[in-house]
Amino acid sequence: MMRRLALSFAAAVLVTAGTAAPAAACINEPRTKHEEREFRSQYDETLERDEKPANEGILPIVRAVVVGAVGASLIGGSAWVATRP
């Protein structure tokens, strides 16, 4: 209950502060840059470039084996058929 009240209070404070300052603000004081850096640094965690997205499993490899086998068989078979008298 107390927690809910505290949250409502915080929301009310924020809303009131906003009503008093309806236009957007651009403040500048010596710590502004530090605060900007702090905000940005929280999102510095980037995905590793070599982090690969999920693979499609074994199916592409099976298809590759089939395509390779068909291609090789066609070449071999064709050579055999064409060189028969």
Binding site: N28, L47, V67, A72, G77
Partner: protein
């Protein structure tokens, strides 16, 4: 001359050569047609990688670049804010510094004095006294004028191309000198406090307050002229924001219910299925973006890489009405970062900002984030505009966009709303706890400007930011080399088979 039957050997050689030649044609044909599409068609193995989207390249090398998680966090109040105790303590410290130093025209004054004036003014504003903050900044400006700072700065040529040129110049020169930087801060702060102090009365029709708003905007424009690259261009967007709201004093519904604060038309109808954060990129363009993300990046390289980002804003009708400095479309991350900066470091949550963020996120296909922005805007509806009819239209727009997004995503709106409530409550609770911590530590005598001031809080509560995840990247699939070779082999085999059939056919006819 008699026709001798071909020998067994010549038949074999003819057959072998024909098949070999056909296979060679097959290789050439597949090479000409391109093997990549066949790799895709046949579902052969591909090498997958993640490519950074171009908005990861900052406008200025080393500057802030957007992560979509930032938008999500800001609309859920998941960012640090300071409380009353913090600003009171800093005001007291700044006033002590000001009192201890000379304040006489002509007497050399250190940057510490000017900095203290900035802190005092900002603290007054944060404590709800923008007029007091403006007075402190007027005093600072008078001191700077007495020390030779220019009194007249021309803002008539404030155009985007001009700002870009000035930014490049500053980059080459190694940034602003200390005096210009201090002057920039004075104008930026003074403009902001005048806008804060006058806005409410200006919307109510008070002519003096409207004049104050005009003066505030002029100071912001001077600040932009002096330092166009400051704070990821936040002042530029502040000027647009104010120009947008000032233009809405007459016939507000024609502007506020048609455009967001950066001049992007408000979304209508079905959700755009083709909305993307960048257009599809060639391998050369991807290479350019990669290069711009290295330490070798410079302003020109960054500009080239950022060319591929989806452009937004500056609709012609909006430009005519606002006569703002933002007169041509820009990469979507620029206004987004500007709005986030104003929200987190400036005036906090605002229905206009939430609407613009939602509209821009929808424009670039970030539906869930857009929905949350619209939801936040709806919660702030009472502060949108004094006119009830305008507020009603605003709410209708938000609900219709949310409905369209839910329909497009096939989602459960109640589940999304529950999640939004939980995240907003979490963000507000974290901010409240941080402000309580500030008050407790300051009461115990700690210095809020000390580097280790938040150490204990951070250790206990951790960061409030969401992990950026993979939203700012695209998955890219490049056919593996082996897959290309397999396609070549298949084509060679198919053509060879054709060649073999031809040989048999020729023999059948007895031609060879």
């Amino acid at each position: 001359m008699t026709n001798r039957p071909p020998t067994r050997g010549s038949v074999r050689i003819f057959g072998f050569l024909t098949v070999g030649f056909a296979a060679l044609i097959g290789l050439c044909c597949s090479g000409i047609i391109g093997t990549s599409k066949w790799v895709q068609l046949l579902g052969l193995p591909v090498e997958r990688s993640r490519i950074p989207l171009p908005h990861q390249v900052p406008l200025i090398p080393g500057g802030t670049s957007l992560r979509i998680a930032m938008v999500h966090d800001v609309v859920h109040q998941r960012y640090p804010v300071h409380g009353e105790a913090y600003w009171s303590a800093r005001l007291a410290k700044a006033e002590a510094t000001i009192a201890a130093l000379p304040d006489v025209e002509g007497v050399p004054i250190g940057s510490g004095f000017l900095d203290a004036l900035d802190v005092a003014a900002v603290a007054h504003d944060k404590l709800g006294r923008p007029d007091e903050g403006a007075r402190v900044m007027e005093r600072k400006l008078a001191l700077q004028h007495a020390r030779g700072a220019p009194r007249e700065i021309d803002v008539s040529e404030l155009r985007r191309s001009e700002l870009g040129r000035r930014r490049r110049e500053l980059e080459r020169e190694g940034g602003l000198d200390e005096d210009t930087l201090a002057l920039y801060r004075t104008h930026a702060n003074l403009g902001t406090f005048l806008l804060h102090g006058g806005f409410k009365a200006a919307v109510g029709g008070d002519p003096d307050a409207r004049a104050q708003l005009g003066l505030g905007l002029r100071h912001v424009k001077i600040a932009i002229t002096l330092n166009p690259g400051a704070h990821f261009g936040r002042e530029t967007w502040q000027a647009c924001f104010v120009a947008h709201l000032r233009s809405a004093f007459e016939k507000p519904e024609q502007l506020l219910l048609r455009y967001d604060v950066c001049g992007e038309k408000l979304a209508k109808g079905r959700v755009d299925r083709d909305a993307r954060m960048a257009r599809s990129l060639t391998s050369r363009e991807r290479g350019l973006i990669d290069l711009a993300l290295t330490e070798e990046a410079d302003l020109e390289l960054n500009e080239s890489a950022r060319f591929f980002i989806t452009q937004v804003g500056a609709n012609l009708e909006w430009v005519k009405r606002t006569r703002g400095i933002h007169a041509s479309p820009v990469a979507f991350d620029e206004p987004v970062l500007g709005i986030l900066g104003m929200w987190t470091l400036g005036g906090g949550a605002n229905p206009h900002s939430a609407l613009a963020l939602g509209n821009l996120m929808e424009r670039v296909g970030q539906r869930a984030v857009a929905w949350a922005c619209y939801e936040r805007a709806a919660r702030l509806e009472a502060r949108f505009w004094p006119d009830e009819a305008v507020r009603k239209g605003f709410l209708q727009h938000l609900r219709s966009r949310q409905k369209a997004i839910i329909a497009a995503a096939g989602a459960d709106e109640d589940a999304w709303r529950k999640k939004f409530d939980a995240e907003l409550a979490h963000g507000l609770a974290w901010q409240e706890a941080r402000m309580a911590y500030e008050a407790e530590r300051i009461a115990a005598g700690a210095d809020p400007e000390a580097d280790d001031f938040y150490e204990a809080f951070d250790a206990e509560h951790g960061s409030i930011a969401s992990p950026p995840g993979g939203i700012d990247w695209i998955d890219h699939a490049e056919p593996a080399l082996a897959s290309h070779l397999l396609v070549l082999l298949l084509f060679a085999g198919l053509f060879a088979a054709g060649g073999a059939l031809l040989v048999r056919f020729v023999r059948l006819l007895g031609l060879r």
